[in-house]
Symmetry: D2
Subunit: 243 residues, 4 copies
C-alpha cells in the first residue's frame, strides 16, 4: 500500500471538446494538463469528468480520494445534486478540496461556503500579478514574493465568500481591480483551498508557479487530522450535582 | 419614520403548545418571552411562527426586518425550502441573523454555514458557565467576565461549524464538556451570531445576561454597512495594454 | 457629562513646520485638518503633538481619551518609550487606536503587533483605488464599493503584520502593487484599526471617503465592551475532587 | 546534510535544580524529558538553558534551529533583552516557536503577541480535559477528540492574547474554568504555537498525547514557506501615468 497522496482531478470537460480555441490550448482537456503538470510532485493522480456515469465521482472513488481538484464553468447546473451532496459529506469527513477559477460558482463550492460566491469578471487579456500576503503558509512554499500571468481573465472584488481562515494570495489586475485569489477554509474535518487563475483560453495550467501552488495546496489539504468526533446524545464525563 | 432597529423573533412554537412542562415556562411561547425581554432595549420587535402562512416570513416582512432572531427545534424539516432560500438571500443582502440554541440544526443555519452543524448534547439539568473570551467585542458590552445558568441542556464540542470570524463566549459544563457558545460570522453583507443557551424546559430567556447578549447582538448585527457590490461583467477602470 | 466619543488626534507635526510643500497642504498640521474634517461626526476632538510635554499624552489625557488617532513618520524614534508603554497599557484597558499611514512604523504599532510592520513603498504620484472586501463591516458604512485617491504614496505587500481579525480594504496601485489597507486587530480590551492613506504631501485628509472611514473606525473602536477580567490566582468555582 | 527538522528545546532549568519535588518528576530537567519524549518523532533535538552563556541561544545556534520550544517560569526577567530580540528576529525570518505553559509570560511571547498574556491560574491538583475544536488541523493529527490530564495547574480565561489564527484546543477544568489551550499565530515568516499543559510538579511531559501535540506542532511550524519579501523603496512594475 502506498502512502502517496491520492488526487482526483475533476473537470467539466466541455469547452475543450466544443470550442476550437480552447482545444488548441488544452487538446486533451484541463484535467489531463493538470494530471501531467502535477505528476512531478509524487501524487497518485486520477481524473473524472462531468459526462462519465455519476460524473466519475462514485462513492468508492471519493472514498479513495484524499484531495479532489475541481474545475467547472458552463455546466455547473448539470452536476447532479446527489453527487454534490456526496462530495460535501466526504469533505466534512476529511477529503481535501481545491477549487479552481470558475469553480467559484460550482454547486459544491457555494454549498460549502453558504454565500453566493459572486464576483466581478472581464475577459480582456489583461495581466494578473499574484502577491503572497502570508509567506509563512505552506501553500506559498518555494514561491517568490509575487508571480505574474501575462494574460488572464479578470476576477474582481467584492468576492462574496465568508472570511477565509487564511488569505495567502491577493491579485492585482491591469484593468484596476484586486482579488483575494488564494484563500483557505475548513469545513468539518476537510480543508478547502480556492485558487483563482485558470481561464480556459489561456495556458495557465502549464505555468510553473501555478502548478506549484496547486501541488502545495494538495499536500496541505491531505495532511493527517484528528479523530472523527462523536456527535449526538453524550454521557456525562463528570458527576453532575444531585444526580 | 423610525430609526429604531426592526427585529423579528421567529419561533417554531410547537413545544409550548403541546408540552405542559414547556408551557409552564413559556406560556405564550418563547417568541413572546423574547419580545418582552428585549423590549427594554428600544427595538421595534415583531414575531413570526412556523404555523403562520409562509411561516410569517413573507418577502415584505423580511424586507422590513433588520435583524431576525431564530429559535427552532423539533420541526426544522417543516420549514419550507423556498422560505429558507428567501431568508438566506436577505441575509446576503444585509439582514442580521441571531440563531439561538437548537437553531444550530435549522435549515437556514446549516445552509449559511456549509457544514453539518452537529454537536454533542445531553439533558441533565447541569450548570453552564459562559466565559467571555473576547472582552473587546460589543456583544460582551456590559457583561461580567462570566455568567452562569444553573440548569441547562449541555452542548459539547466538537461543534461542526466553520471557524467563526470572532469567538466571544466559551461555555463550561458541569458534566465535563466545553462549547464555543457565542460566535460571529459574516455572509455577504449580513452578520450572523450563534448563541447557545435556551433549552425550552428552562427559563433561560428570562435571564438578564442572556437577554443582554441577545440585545447586544441585535445592535451589532444591525449596524450600517457598505454599498451593495456590483457582481458580473465589469468594464475596465484603467487602460489595458494593447487595447 | 457628555456621552460623545472623546477623540485625541496625535500628530508628529514636524513635516508641516519644516517643509514648505507639506505646509502648503496642511498649514496648521495634519492634526488640525483631521480635527476639522472629523468635527461633522459629533465627536469631542482634541489634539496632541510630539513636541508638547510628554508628547501631549499625559496619563490624565489618555484616561480621558476613548479613541486615539496616530500619525507619525520621520521622528518615530523620538517618541519616549515610557509614553509608548503608557499608550499600550491604555489600549489593553480598552482605549481604541487608529493608526494612519506611516504610523505603521511607529513604536506603538510595532509593539502592539509584535512584527516588523515593514512594507514596500514608493513616492511616485500614483493612483490608489481602495476596494471594500468586507462590506458587512461597520467601518465600510456608507461607502461605495471602492473609492480612489488620484495621487498617493504607494505601500505594497508583503506588509509584515499579524493576520488581521478582519480585513476591510485592499488597495490597488497604478504601479503594480496591492496592499491590505484597512485591517482590524484587538489587543486586550482595546480595538485597533490600521488605515493606509495619508502621505503628507497629498491632501488625503480632506477627502470625504477617507474622513468617513476614520470616523467609522472611531465609532467602531469606541463601542462598549465587557468587564475588565480578573488576572491572577483564582479560587475554584466548583468543588475539586478530594479537596 | 540531513533534512530532519532541527529542534532546540529551551528550558529555564531552575525549579529542577532547586526544588526537590520538581527534581523527582524531572531529575534531568524538563528539556531532557522533552528531548527524550520527542526523539521517537525523527527530529534532531538539542537543548539550551538559561544559565548557559547567551542562554545557549547564540546567533549560530538560532540559525541552525528550525523550531524552538520554550519553557520558562520563575526567571523570565533574567532572560537578556538582546537575546529576546535575537529570537524575535529569527521568528520573523521563519523559525518556528512552540511556547509551553508558563512560557505565556516569557518576554519573547509577550513581545510577539503585543498583549499582557495574563490569565487566571490555580494550583489545586485538578483535572484538565483538552477538547479538539479544529479536528482538521495537523496539530490534532492522530489525537482522539479529547484527552485528559489527571492533575494539572489550572489556567483560566480571560487569556489576554490576540485572536489566534486558529484555535485547536479548548480546556475544561474541574474547578470551573475554560481555557484556549492550543492556539496558532504567525509573525513574519514564522509560525507560533502556544500549548498550555506542563506545570513543573506534574509528569505532563511524559504523557503521550501531550508529546504528540508538541511533535505535531514542531512539524507544522517547520514547514517550507514562501520567499523572504523585499521591504523598502520599490521600483514600479507598471508604467505610471504621466511618468
Amino acid at each position: 500500500m502506498s502512502d502517496r497522496v491520492r488526487v482526483t482531478v475533476w473537470n467539466e470537460f466541455r469547452h475543450e471538446r466544443h470550442n476550437a480555441e480552447v482545444a488548441k490550448v488544452y487538446p486533451e482537456g484541463i484535467h489531463r494538463a493538470l494530471q501531467a503538470g502535477l505528476s512531478a510532485y509524487g501524487f497518485d493522480i486520477g481524473t473524472a469528468t462531468l459526462d462519465e456515469p455519476e460524473h466519475g465521482l462514485t462513492a468508492d472513488r471519493l472514498n479513495d480520494t484524499d484531495v479532489l481538484v475541481w474545475w467547472g464553468h458552463q455546466a455547473h447546473d448539470e452536476v447532479d445534486d446527489a453527487i454534490v451532496e456526496r462530495v460535501q459529506q466526504r469533505v466534512l469527513q476529511g477529503m481535501g478540496l481545491i477549487v479552481l477559477h470558475s469553480g467559484h460558482y460550482s454547486k459544491i463550492f457555494r454549498k460549502l461556503m453558504g454565500t453566493s460566491c459572486a464576483l466581478k469578471w472581464r475577459e480582456a487579456d489583461e495581466k494578473e500579478r499574484l502577491w503572497v500576503v502570508k509567506p509563512s503558509h505552506p501553500i506559498a512554499a518555494g514561491l517568490p514574493e509575487y508571480f505574474e500571468l501575462e494574460r488572464e481573465e479578470m476576477y474582481g472584488e467584492h468576492f462574496d465568500i465568508p472570511d477565509p481562515d487564511e488569505l495567502v494570495f491577493v491579485s492585482w489586475f491591469e484593468g484596476g481591480e484586486v482579488f483575494r485569489s488564494g484563500a483557505t477554509f475548513s469545513r468539518g474535518q476537510g480543508k478547502i483551498f480556492y485558487f483563482r487563475p485558470g481561464h480556459e483560453t489561456y495556458p495557465t495550467y502549464y505555468n510553473e508557479p501555478v502548478l506549484r501552488v496547486i501541488a502545495n495546496a494538495v499536500r496541505w489539504a491531505a495532511s493527517e487530522r484528528g479523530a472523527a468526533p462523536f456527535y449526538g446524545n453524550a454521557q456525562p464525563l463528570e458527576p453532575i450535582a444531585g444526580k
